[in-house]
Symmetry: C2
Subunit: 333 residues, 2 copies
Amino acid sequence: MPTRVMLMGLGPIGAGVARQLVARRNFKLVAAVDIDPAKVGRDLADIIDLAKRTRIKVGPDPVAAIRQTKPQVAVLCTSSSLKKVWPQIETVLKRRVPIVSTTEELSYPFLSNRALARKIDAAAKKAKVAVVGTGVNPGFAMDALPIALTAVCERVHAVRVERVQDARIRRLPFQKKIGSGLSVEEFGERVKAGTVRHVGLAESVSMIGDALGWKLERVTDEIQPMIAKGPVESRFLRVEAGRVCGITQDGVGYRDGKPAIVLHMEAYLGAPESYDSVQIEGSPPLFVKALGGYHGDVATTSITVNTIPKVLQAAPGLHTMRTLALPSFAGGR
Amino acid sequence: MPTRVMLMGLGPIGAGVARQLVARRNFKLVAAVDIDPAKVGRDLADIIDLAKRTRIKVGPDPVAAIRQTKPQVAVLCTSSSLKKVWPQIETVLKRRVPIVSTTEELSYPFLSNRALARKIDAAAKKAKVAVVGTGVNPGFAMDALPIALTAVCERVHAVRVERVQDARIRRLPFQKKIGSGLSVEEFGERVKAGTVRHVGLAESVSMIGDALGWKLERVTDEIQPMIAKGPVESRFLRVEAGRVCGITQDGVGYRDGKPAIVLHMEAYLGAPESYDSVQIEGSPPLFVKALGGYHGDVATTSITVNTIPKVLQAAPGLHTMRTLALPSFAGGR
């Protein structure tokens, strides 16, 4: 029997999750919820760009959707911010429905959102269901995967992860999110306002630190603009030389005064090579590289769907990718 | 408090595990057991080549060792064969001690040793402790890691894993195990006798197949000699042209008549590049390569020690690397 899923949030990631849930035979999307009045009341197919009607009408209210469709799990793709998502989590947990969320700050909330993490854990245990935050990053490329690689080491001195993406292949909202086309001044203002940044590096650093049993003195998260050396174009944008074509961002965990965990991201229009790499200084030393990298959107929507069976099998409470069983494709074509 | 460990089996892998347990501060080796009369009664330091005495006298009897030292976990490094190891597992489980074993056939015993797998699961549940078989291969490079990588895929059509090792850097018993120096005829006889082969490919194939939800029609495991094209030398051996310098071995899982899972190993003196790679045909396609590969002995001893905390946290019963929490370095220098 396919697993009955309710989806909350129909932005680009939610829409991708919805398309997978509709296409994959071991899942059955039974309800879709969004607060956007332009989406409510329409057939989901219109929102996620499917030719065939889904007969799922987008609703505004998760409580009504749960009552009417009895989902076995809820997938939340509503916001990066755990503070914003907490009321939704609380609502869903009160109805005893387990949760997989793409909320970046939920991936490892024990450093930046400790109080909320406790509340979620308590609410999940009370409801006797599990909750987890996942995605390709945070959730996999820069935390779970490097952690899994340390399993073959007898000593680990430092971990360096690089994620370099040519943003030309990504969707327009992503290209804008990384500041493509802005002046350096505008970029600085957006960084200050918090609208240009990748959310999750501090979470990934602390997940790795805890996995290794390291007490980190300090975790930093710093953003710099990447400046176009010449004009660069994507399907959507043209950026002139001297303007911003993307970001570099570094999450660093310090131990004994030294950077022991370095997570280095580059996402910009025109990066010559996209890749993900993990370098472990230790015994044995490791260098593992994914050529072409893990595609951002497809990888995030996939790991979200693939995590559903893991969260259904897990003990009640707040989980992370560290405590669930080994990640894997969930089967079903 | 460090975890109290009993070690059974002091061959090359067991000795490596012992050295790590002595060196790592969050473990305390409390007992060492071996059936070899040449080892029994001696200080462990003599057997594992340590300068400083360990004050652990190698004993012949795990039951006496458990009674005297009260270990929290037993590590078994005695044999590749589950049939041979089963009586040891039974003995240890009767004393309610959880087990991490390097027994290759225990890594995923549901295809080739189904009846024993059931017995072990039942005995472990009765004892309320967990049991797992692990190692770098099987246990990680050609199964758990490729499985974890599929987590970012929405579709998987085929999995191809390659493990290529220049055997010149490995110990002499390994070089002999892969047939280095034999004639082609001698190699064929050893393969028939079962003394020249890597144990675990069928286990890895079926672990991947089950993780993906695939029904495999057939699993094959075939060995070929690698013939030296010119003379090749290691620290221990010289192999003349025309003689065997190692093996290639392929584990293949067939689905719809096609090879859907291919695990390709090469281990021979003089391989130009050592590496491990995982290629996933699907969406998105993935290609992940560990440059230099995962060192066989250090990686196996490390993942064995690192799996101890995972097995202590796991629910009672027979586990595999698929069902334990995410593998990771266990902390402690």
